[in-house]
């Protein structure tokens, strides 16, 4: 079970969403993705996209000016 780390700090709409989708496509089932970013709308929208794709949201947390989101790929697609 690998972990994919994404650095989306200072990236604007819709890049963090796109990067998460790309990572979910290349991850294997069981892998986790950890994405760190600063774009505030993405903090809300990445969990929406994870839900829409039927993947598992593990954690959303703030780290100073940044947020960290952890996702688990639970199925193909």
């Amino acid at each position: 079970m690998a972990q994919i780390n994404l650095d989306c700090r200072h990236q604007n709409c819709p890049v963090p969403l796109v990067q998460v989708r790309k990572a979910l496509k290349r991850a294997a089932v069981g892998d986790t993705i950890e994405v760190v970013g600063t774009h505030s709308a993405s903090k809300k929208e990445i969990p929406m996209a994870v839900e829409a794709q039927g993947q598992e949201l593990l954690e959303v947390k703030d780290q100073g000016q940044e947020w960290v989101i952890r996702i688990k790929k639970v199925k193909e697609g």
Partner: protein, 139 residues
Amino acid sequence: MTGKTTIIVHSGDMDKVISAFIIGNGSLSMGMEVTLYFTFWGLNRLKKGGLDKGPLSKMNMLGLGRRMIKGRMAKANVATLESMVNDFKELGGKIIACEMTMEIMGITKEQLRTEWIDEYGAVGTYVNEARKSDITLFI
């Protein structure tokens, strides 16, 4: 994939083409299928070297406004159109070029970025995509 977005890109204005690709990439990122149908002025943006050559829909000021917006977009870390199209294709987005527009404007396939284009079609192709879509927009 769950759900589908189909967008007609009729305008060739830079700001509107950017909107089309942001919505397209946003939809792909939500796990949806996406088709962009390029017609009339929009088709000019699929010409070789033409992607970011569109004027601004407002305050273009002979290209001055357009240059200013590009600078501000770079400063705000907004992706370039070229990288938006690359992301769009990488995530499986589909592009249809309007054959009638090609005929009217005398555009040949050799003038277009054919590596981006999945299909050449007419209104029937659009309607067939749109009828199976959850979101359809005309830009």
